[in-house]
């Protein structure tokens, strides 16, 4: 009997595997497959492949800070005062630069993918894709117990393949 579970990296998964080993599943009957999340990357955790939203947040915070310093300064001479102008400039700066960065990133990616003939969807989003696949070989009567342990420790999905 083969139990297959998909997971994201988390401490609970280690707890689940330790529990299974304690319950008599030998470690040679556990297989953990680290999954790549991007087709183009050698490592799934290359920091240069931040998501578009992460990059845009980086630029957005930089602009929000700069703009709110200017907004506060100008605001001392304006009717609404430095606090409101500081907040308006901060949010305005953030939204404009965040939107522009996302737009530019997408445009570049679309152009590149048109040139290379690939689909544009690569590394836009990493969420909800399981980072690990776990395979556990066990006797039929233990299958229920093993899958329950996986479900109780943050498994994204659990499946069974019965043979022998």
């Amino acid at each position: 009997m083969l139990i297959v579970g998909t997971f994201n990296h988390c401490t609970e998964l280690e707890l689940a595997l330790s529990l299974l080993e304690r319950n008599g599943i030998d470690k040679s009957r556990i297989m953990v497959v680290p999954m790549d999340l991007n087709r183009d990357s050698k490592s799934a955790y290359s920091p240069r492949i931040a998501t578009d939203a992460e990059r845009a947040f980086e630029v957005g915070m930089a602009f929000a800070t700069a703009m709110s310093v200017i907004g506060v300064s100008i605001g001392f001479g304006l009717k609404l005062g430095p606090l409101l102008w500081g907040v308006i400039f901060a949010f305005g700066g953030f939204l404009v630069s965040f939107g522009l960065t996302i737009g530019i990133k997408r445009a570049i990616r679309r152009k590149r993918s048109r040139l290379s003939g690939k689909t544009a969807a690569t590394y836009v989003k990493k969420t909800n894709r399981p980072e690990l696949t776990v395979l556990i070989e066990c006797e039929e009567e233990r299958a229920e117990h093993v899958s329950r342990i996986l479900w109780e420790h943050e498994a994204i999905s659990v499946g069974r393949a019965g043979h022998g």
Binding site: S28, A62, S68
Partner: protein
């Protein structure tokens, strides 16, 4: 840290003060945060001591030279007032330190990125847990959004969430200081009751002008640090699984005869 002692380019080290790590970062982003507040670029590179000393120097010499007041006057078009308020005894020195801090953080980040590549290639074993006499520290899965929100609520709280103990309390102390010295909360209170003029008059521009950079820097630092911690956590777990379950004997299909 048995693993790291043999490593020539370790990725990270856990101590009672938190996780100190080598990371890849865009040098322009580092230079920008140094410009926003001298020292913040160095914080992003995990150079905590020099960063802290630079932030102290920024507050002291900005105050002596009246840089923030001059900024307020310049941005609102009162250039003669700006010239008048600056104290030349301190302003030139301030400018030199300011520029060199930007340059130094930019240069450091280039070198840092090379070390990062070496560390990735060496792929030395990370250790996930530190048990000291006074502190417990570990790699764990973090939420970058939570880290950013905590820092936005009160700078330092995001660092506390990231277990960066020293910086967290340093930031909390300074935020309290800026809050009281600028009278920000009193001004907010007046603003809520529609007394805009009274609110503007009670504010202290010099101390208020530090605050956007501090809160922006704190939000960005804790956001990006949480992402890095997640990366380290995943790397360490992959290393561990490869060691423990690498010799797996599962055969999904029977061996061909």
């Amino acid at each position: 840290m048995e693993g790291n002692e043999q490593a020539r380019w370790p990725r990270a080290r856990i101590s009672s003060n938190g996780v100190t790590h080598i990371r890849w970062i865009n040098p322009l982003i580092v230079a920008w945060w140094s410009a926003a507040f001298p020292g913040f670029g160095h914080y992003l590179l995990n150079q905590y001591i020099r960063a802290t000393l630079l932030t102290l120097s920024e507050v002291v010499f900005n105050t002596l030279a009246h840089i923030n007041e001059a900024l307020v006057y310049s941005f609102s078009g009162n250039f003669s007032l700006a010239v008048g308020v600056l104290d030349p005894r301190w302003a030139y020195g301030y400018l030199l330190v300011y520029m060199v801090a930007i340059w130094d953080s930019y240069r450091s980040s280039l070198q840092n990125n090379r070390f990062f590549q070496l560390a990735e290639l060496e792929n030395s074993r990370l250790k996930p847990f530190f048990l000291g006499r006074m502190e417990v520290q570990y790699l764990e899965k973090k939420s970058p959004v939570k880290a950013a929100l905590f820092s936005a609520a009160f700078p330092g709280m995001g660092h506390l969430y990231n277990h960066r103990v020293g910086l967290a309390f340093y930031a909390i102390f300074w935020w309290w200081f800026y809050l009281t010295a600028s009278r920000l909360h009193t001004a907010c209170y007046l603003l809520f009751y529609g007394r805009i003029q009274a609110s503007t008059q009670i504010l202290h521009p010099h101390w208020l002008l530090f605050m956007p950079s501090v809160i922006g820097g704190a939000v960005y630092h804790s956001f990006t640090t949480a992402i890095e911690h997640n990366r380290l956590f995943a790397i360490e777990q992959r290393q561990y699984f490869a060691e423990r379950y690498g010799n797996c004997s599962i055969r999904i299909f029977p061996r061909p005869r």
